[in-house]
Amino acid sequence: MSPDPRQTESPHNGLFVSGLCKSYGPVQVLADASFEVRPGEVVALLGENGAGKSTVSNIIAGSTKPDAGAITWRGKPYSPASPAAAIDAGVGMIHQELKLLPDLSVAENVYVGRLPMRGGRIDRAAMNAQASAQLKRLGLDVSPERKVRTLRIAAQQQVEIAKALTLNAELLIFDEPTAALGGEETELLFKQIRKLKAEGMSFIYISHRLDEIAEIADRVVVMRDGRIVARHERADIPVRTVVEQMVGRSVERMFPQLSPPGDQTLLEVENLSSPERSFNNVSFSVRAGEILGIAGLIGAGRTELVRAIAGADPISSGSVRVAGKPVHLNGPAAAIKAGVVLVPEDRKAQGVVLDQTIGENLAFGNFDHVAPKGWVFPKAVQKFAEAGISRLGVKGKPNQAVSKLSGGNQQKVIIAKWVPRPPKVFILDEPTRGIDVGARAAIYDVIADLARSGMAVVVVSSDLEEVLGLSHRVLVLSRGRQRGILDRSEASNVAVMELATS
């Protein structure tokens, strides 16, 4: 527990970051970054991808060394040589990609590296009891003996937090903690943060969801191009102001103007059910030029539904028709042939081959175009890739590895892969997850263009504002059941959430 800040002689006993600089080769990723975090407060660190937030956090958490600058933590100079040193000093970080051992138990994960021993053996009883106490402190009712693999993402994150608590962390850095969480789970996380805050813990909170910031943060630090461009003493600043500071220009509109849909019905889904009952009896149709949003909480069956329509997962009953013709859903290849394409939820694991080039990634879905008689020549791939790159505005070259691109550009590569076919039904699952605000607007424009060009578009998103801003109609799922389809005029935050939580 940190002492009461009023009793210390320095202004406060928290974290002072001053003049941090970091370059990789000729690229300066961090320039003269200075800010402070007081005990018992949440500082939101905002900025687009590449703005330097991760670099700052990694320096504070001990995994990166700065070129210049100094940090003071709890009144002492602080320059952690490793994440272990940072943890010893009471600084922990919860990464966006959780670092847990999936086949070990919850308790083992919490105490990994320092398992309580008794007489040369692991004291399982003590370990489970202590872990259980920490989980209770977080309001989490999970058996400490359960394997982490069997927990949902949200619960796994809680295990990471519990681990940090047992390490006596007094400053926790959260990197996009809510990217994979639904509304309820986010609320639970916020409740925990507030509780720990009251106990004197400090937080650095990185997020792309600006609407959360006012709710959870005390102060806001905005970064752009490796510099700190604004410090707000309060968190309830208009989202628009923050966005403008993040992108360095004024944002005209987040969402593009939607054109009215056409008459032809391109996608008809009838009584579709999954073998695992993750969705039941779902029926809807989408017209040419129409964007249908699918909303719901995590676990409502949205991803499962669209994956089934795209042939990626099996169905148990129901039918799908594309432009009036029934589609035999026995695999992605059949769906693609029928004109249904999917931009999957997990970009890195399902969307792109990271180690391969943009050109190769674009070719992988299009050998029938790129290689008419099965012959693939580098020149043809190059030409095909250049066309896709310029059409979608990807910042990259055909022979560049996809892993070197930002999330937004990776997403554009996946979309560009399908555009030339052209598909009749374009499904996008979480199209902007983990993508920064400036790039999001570009993705929205692309999606609106797809619809304008006459495709039926289906967008799944956990970001309610996104679903509402982008869709002609919104289908709401809750626990695998279709709760209703709202027209744009009647779809509001409240209306959707009412259905989603029903």
Partner: protein, 352 residues
């Protein structure tokens, strides 16, 4: 291979279009050379490290022995690597899709025994062609079964092919109850002995032709490129509409056929077949592919790299023999080379 021959291959790889556009003779030559350079560098892309290693190795052996850099010795090396080289082509495909095949040594022995059993006068006496076909079919079936165990039964490739390794070895022993079959027609054994044009035996030629065919397949055929997608991420490949399961089955089947072919080549070289042949070859083969820059996690690798890897192992064995190094020390040296090759590759990747 001669310089002009190499260029001809390079031109055939490009479809010759780069050289055909110019009328001027010197331009033509320069264009051809540039194309050769570009194609060769493409063929060996990502294998510069092993290639440099091979060159240094040859240089060192040329300086330390009188006999290394002689036509006779080089031809010797080529003869010695044919079995390994043919198997390594199949292994490259398997490793490219993120798999592994531990059964190739056993499949080699089983195929050779099947050939002997079908063809040899003491047994079925159906003639060499029937024996060769039977051997390749059995080997292909072994590979296909491994593939199906991976794609349908969802066994990890390591386990599936470990099982096949044991089964194939056992079947090979069952055919003759463990004894060898000796003596094949002269025309068959001469395939690996007679050097046409003064340098090229049929078996070495076969290896080179197969390497070129599979290099073209991997570089320029949609199906070949798809293997890179599967190795990079099987789920991405599947969602892109690539038939991952059937390609995986094909790859294991082809790897099996090539192992069987290697068994036939070995039979020609030894004029006999025995169920204990090919013991431990799977590890040599995997080593050659890995030394050639392929990643065991899939998606990275090439026939050019594998060729270099095979040559490194072949030249190293040959050179150590010439230097009179004991075979026990040879094993140590090859182990060190495997570790060094992969370590430098990892360091280089990290430095990038």
């Amino acid at each position: 291979m001669s310089k002009s021959g190499r260029r001809a291959i390079a031109a055939s790889l490009t479809g010759g279009d780069e050289v055909a556009v110019s009328n001027d003779a010197s331009d033509l030559k320069a264009g051809a050379q540039a194309a050769t350079g570009a194609k060769l560098s493409a063929l060996f892309a990502g294998t510069m490290g092993p290639l440099i290693g091979l060159v240094l190795l040859c240089l060192a052996l040329t300086l330390t022995t009188d006999t290394f850099l002689t036509v006779r010795n080089i031809l010797n090396v080529l003869d010695q690597i044919t079995v390994l080289g043919i198997m390594a082509i199949g292994m490259t495909l398997v490793i490219l899709i993120g798999g592994i095949d531990l059964s190739v040594g056993s499949v080699l022995a089983l195929a050779a025994m099947v050939m002997g059993f079908v063809a040899h006068p003491d047994y079925l006496n159906l003639g060499m062609p029937a024996g060769i076909v039977a051997a390749l079919v059995v080997a292909g079936l072994c590979g296909l079964v491994s593939g199906l165990l991976v794609t349908v039964t969802k066994l990890p490739p390591f386990i599936a092919t470990l099982a096949m390794m044991s089964v194939a070895r056992g079947l090979g022993n069952m055919i003759t109850d463990g004894s060898q079959i000796v003596g094949f027609p002269d025309w068959f054994t001469s395939l690996s002995i007679t050097r046409h044009f003064g340098f090229l035996s049929v078996t070495v030629g076969l290896m080179i032709v197969l390497a070129i065919i599979f290099a073209i397949f991997l570089n320029y055929r949609a199906t070949g490129r798809s293997l890179y997608a599967i190795g990079g991420s099987a789920e991405v490949a599947r969602l892109s509409g690539i038939p991952v399961k059937s390609l995986t089955n094909w790859v294991y089947a082809i790897c099996g056929v090539l192992a069987g072919l290697a068994g036939i080549v070995l039979a020609a070289r030894l004029d006999s077949v025995q169920p204990s042949s090919g013991l431990g070859y799977e590890l040599d083969t995997i080593a050659a592919v890995v030394i050639g820059g392929a990643s065991l996690s899939g998606g990275v690798g090439s026939i050019g790299g594998t060729a270099v890897g095979v040559l490194i192992i072949g030249v190293l064995r040959n050179g150590l023999n010439l230097l009179g190094v004991s075979p026990f020390i040879q094993q140590v040296v090859i182990g060190v080379v495997i570790a060094l090759a992969v370590a430098t590759d990892t360091w280089r990747r990290r430095a990038q």
